[in-house]
Symmetry: C2
Amino acid sequence: MLISDKMYELGSKRSVIRDLFEYGKMRVQEVGAENVYDFSLGNPTVPAPNCVNETIIELIKELDSISLHGYTSAQGDLQTRQAIANYLNDTYMTNFKADNFYITVGAAASLSIVLRALMVSPEDEVIAIAPFFPEYSVFVTSAGAKFKMVPPDTKEFQICFEELEKIINVNTKAIIINSPNNPSGAVYSEDTIVKLSNLLKKKSKEIGHDIFIISDEPYREIVYDGVCVPYITKYYDNTIVCYSYSKSLSLPGERIGFVLVPDEVVESKRLYAAVAGAGRALGYVCAPSMFQKVIVKCIGQTGDINIYKKNRDILYDGLTQLGYECFKPSGAFYMFVKALEESDEAFCNKAKEEDLLLVPATGFGCPGYVRISYCVDEEMIKRSFAAFKRLKEKYSS
Amino acid sequence: MLISDKMYELGSKRSVIRDLFEYGKMRVQEVGAENVYDFSLGNPTVPAPNCVNETIIELIKELDSISLHGYTSAQGDLQTRQAIANYLNDTYMTNFKADNFYITVGAAASLSIVLRALMVSPEDEVIAIAPFFPEYSVFVTSAGAKFKMVPPDTKEFQICFEELEKIINVNTKAIIINSPNNPSGAVYSEDTIVKLSNLLKKKSKEIGHDIFIISDEPYREIVYDGVCVPYITKYYDNTIVCYSYSKSLSLPGERIGFVLVPDEVVESKRLYAAVAGAGRALGYVCAPSMFQKVIVKCIGQTGDINIYKKNRDILYDGLTQLGYECFKPSGAFYMFVKALEESDEAFCNKAKEEDLLLVPATGFGCPGYVRISYCVDEEMIKRSFAAFKRLKEKYSS
């Protein structure tokens, strides 16, 4: 065999979401943009805060070419790492230092790097809580570990602790959590985090080694109604944070984020070195230098989150009035809605007949639901209700 | 074991080059910048062509935030891929299409991705020609293959074909070539490429499967005296090109490059899909979006290469006059010089006593030589000759 089958499979199987998006573009050609309701993609639609482009122009004026576009150290510019530490310490009353941070090419890179730094044996297991971002299973298995899933709590979209407890065993290396959550929009409460922390402490003792939390939190700042997103490192020592500025600064194409390894993590220095080693092994040389400098100036700012909040409210109210069972999201820009028949895939196909492009949640580990991205044009949401009405009526007759 | 030993090793062992660079910074504090001659790093010192920053400012004015900073497709913007195809076709009389290109976060990413797309079994072997960029062995072993080395041709720094022929066997998957070469500065002649191509065709038949050339060519445009750098795909069908704009556009920190899989490669479509799959598996979502757009406008331009040429001439003439045996480089920005004793490491330590920071070439697979980076300040080169003279005299007495 000349070429890796595994890599071929990964590269040739288009995701359901990407397929829907391409289908939507085709339908726009056929029936016009105003008649297609594409809720498939999670692409931020709020512009980056002005600070981003203003800083880029300033940097171009102020810095010589080598300082602006040259290599940074592999772990990232000291100034950038210090700015992130300061910001988090001020915001969450933590005690991070610049050397706890490793700057990356976005959250997917952060996760890939951390998983590879942790994986020792093909027996190692990493757990995700459904519903989860489907690429987790790709990153975990590519790092050489086994992917395990805790079934969803479809009532509150927190964590089914009974199920989690059953799944943990001596091979459990880490658990990935994602709050605010893609795809449910749920935010884990402080109560959930405390319970999780206690369970993992207990189980770590039982199995005889530490279990890591990998907290994937690109949506940390995208929350509504003043909901609080607890900073996980304050509740559980063995927490590694994977962050991206894709959503907070609306810069998903620029690929900039970080890995945070707090001092409290077991073998912290050793793990940090392994993170650097994994970055090297995967071909990550440094994170984009100009955007590292943009972060220093723009950290703490966000795009206008009220736009997402307004969309959420319009969508939630409209669908609820039509009789759909919706989970009201406190964060991110996705809404989880119960399918009107057992198969979410069949339901999404019926929706497609009305040019409503919804993502079936089976791929997120949560059959019977659909994900509706509301990082879309407000007017499209409003126009879509007639189609949602027709879809509902299909099930009433 | 909680953390990967292998990744820890990779992350904690600092490279000789990085160590020298840090030592140099310390010595600058102690004896002043004018008394330290740091030839260790390969960091481009020529500014990016004006086009780069001008294009960034234009893009900020012309494009909305989502178009400028949003996700691109994983394979890269069609416009970028088309611009690269057009440029190469015009320059080298090739017939590439946009769909032959997969845009990456630089050449290290390109190599990591390609190696992972190709590796099928732990018996797979990848060959590099000494002297070689030491990270090759990191990328090859991280992809799960065995790293093999062809000893150097220290006369012309082309390829020892007899040795190469001996090393190729049924497990040989690919051979990495790098011309213009880091660290020797040699450019492979057309004769070398033709011989290599013929040998690989013959050996492919003998072993019963195709052997790939992976052509790592970030220095393609950094050549002097009108030397020709043959485009490898025109000589050998199974060539995959890994390119980076780090050196040509002096943008090493911005991380932008590509993988080229020509139609002529065996199972070309399948390999391209595997490249996309490997990118996904490693956590590469897309290449930085703004710089993808910069490439469209600036492709074909370079920084002022005459600055490197002038440095090369001053360094070569100066060292030759002092009696050093130098290999005159036709490309890249490194010069290979014979150590004045058997051990290049011992020689570099003696040089260090004179605050001359040279890189021993044992790490490049070529003991007995040192690498001198001349992407440095011209005045530093001139000032360094007194120290080189003292170093020489240590060996005369």
